[in-house]
Amino acid sequence: MKAGEHRAAGSVYYVFLAGMALLCLAPVVLMVVTSLKVRTQIFSDTLTFFFIPTVSHYAEAFGDAALTRTLGNSMAVALFATALTMAAGCMAAYALARFSFFGRGVVSGATLLMRMVPPAVLVAPIFMLWTYQFGISDTLSGLVLAYTALNLPFVIWILQSFFAQTPPQLEEAARLDGANPFQTFFFVILPIVAPGMAAAAIFAFRIAWNEFILALVLTNRFTRTIPVEISLSISEHNIAWGKVMAVGTLIAIPPLIFTFIASRHIVKGLTAGAVKG
């Protein structure tokens, strides 16, 4: 009796969980499904569950030279921004985790506060500085710089805890063996925190790949990234939903791949700061 009740309660739990999973999934699945439907099926006002999928919208997207260029831009910007963020971020996080130096408190506090800045606040001044002071508006490097700066506070914050967890005896041993601090960092410490670095890199890539509002004001026709391109194609009057959903799916793919290969790390990153760590 008791066991039966327990089992019944158990299946209710799983029905509940499945329902939640379905709610999370449904809009994403619908996007993918829509991208595989022909025009008449998309604009039909009844639900169609069974249909012959078509890749015509993807073919159209990849046949569009402007669109493939924006895809390439997005990839280049996200990869370079991630590399730069990781290089600068790892060194900074290590210094904050392991050294006491003049200005450490200020830098650490400022880094934390920078995370809170809404991107909209930066749009006007960054546009102005990039255009008039640095002369890098409309360039991909300008975007890489903006994303690196935007990502650094967050990445430093996550990485710091990974560096803090490495045993200090390692540095001591390396020092006694005659290694200088730079050798110790590159050859002893970095290899140990590689998993943490992978998690941080996923975050940096995701933010650079997904970012829209700065890209909107800092790029032109040739340096546009894919989120900007898609926003322009839905401001038209007759939205080509099939193609838009195909491009939306393409944008969603890289982050989704990361989600499935590293969900545990990602949860740790998302919750850094809420749970002590």
Binding site: P27, D45, T46, L84, A110, M116, A120, A124, P125, T259
Partner: protein, 301 residues
């Protein structure tokens, strides 16, 4: 000689390690923020040379604070932020309590739950704009199955639009609170729960008087983090409604963008930016203070 070199090297090491990150953040975050303060005291129109900026003192702030649209936008922002956080915390914590037990297949489920947070905000906006389409959107089709012929004006009516964008945000972020609350619940020591049961506490009493108080600090910090993020929302609303219809979903971030790039008033946009920044800073200070209190409480007990 060699030893002197080594000490000197380790003395400069932290500065060398810090330099690239500090330079980048100073140049591309701090400088823009400082520039925004400078800009907010000037009138400068988009497209004119930079030296055409005219110093106008506090004029931008005076105009903004006297403009009923700013106040509307501020109200929309506050309603949006506090409503989404309240709903997400209530739903997330509630579900975590309901489902708290070792769950088989949690790894796969976790991937599914974090999906909405991982995809681009712009894609989230797109998804929901499609969901809400009144002619052929999935929600309209679903309602049709139940005999509702006329779809609610999800995004086209000023009375509905704010609720509709709130639903999209709740969809995206409730799993965040859920995952956090579940992890916190599962880390409550079994001995504490056992002790409560020995003292004759019912299951419900254990939840409300033992478990909830124990996970409260985590929930509060998560809620504050979400609140800060809710003030950062822009792209989802940009794609779904562009702040409309009317001003019904015009959050401050949206208004900053429009002031700068549609009305071309960069000085005024900067002033508005600084007001938003003050708002977020106030919440951040609250978060830092709360964490300090928590640390102190942990140390003393």
């Amino acid at each position: 000689m060699r030893a002197g070199y080594a000490t000197r090297l380790s003395r400069i090491a932290p500065y060398v390690f810090m330099a690239p990150a500090v330079l980048i953040m100073a140049g591309a975050l701090l400088w823009p923020l400082a520039h925004s303060v400078w800009l907010s005291f000037h009138e400068w129109k988009l497209g004119t040379p930079q030296d055409a900026a005219v110093f106008t003192g506090l004029e931008n702030y005076r105009i903004l604070l006297g403009d009923p649209d700013t106040l509307t936008s501020l109200r929309v922002t506050l309603v949006f932020a506090f409503t989404v956080v309240t709903l997400e915390v209530a739903l997330g914590v509630g579900l975590a309590i309901l489902l708290e037990r070792p769950i088989r297949g949690m790894n796969a489920l976790r991937s599914i739950f974090i999906m909405p947070m991982m995809i681009a905000p712009i894609v989230v906006g797109l998804l929901w704009r499609y969901m809400y389409n009144e002619q052929f959107g999935p929600l309209a089709q679903l309602l049709l199955l139940f005999g509702v012929e006329e779809s609610p004006p999800w995004l086209s009516s000023p009375d509905w639009a704010l609720a509709s964008v709130i639903i999209a945000d709740v969809w995206q972020w409730t799993p965040f609170i859920f995952i956090l609350a579940l992890a916190a619940l599962q880390s409550v020591p079994t001995s504490v729960v056992e002790a409560a049961r020995m003292d004759g506490a019912q299951a419900r009493q254990t939840v409300f008087y033992v478990k909830l108080p124990l996970i409260l600090p985590v929930v509060i910090v998560a809620a504050l983090l979400r609140l800060i993020d809710a003030f950062k929302v822009l792209e989802v609303i940009f794609i779904m409604t562009e702040g409309g219809p009317g001003l019904s979903t015009e959050i401050l971030s949206m208004r900053i963008y429009k002031t700068a790039f549609e009305f071309q008033q960069l000085g005024r946009a900067s002033a508005l930016s600084n007001l938003l920044l003050l708002l977020v800073a106030a919440i951040s200070v609250g978060l830092v203070l709360f964490n300090k209190l928590r640390e102190r409480a942990n140390e003393s007990g």
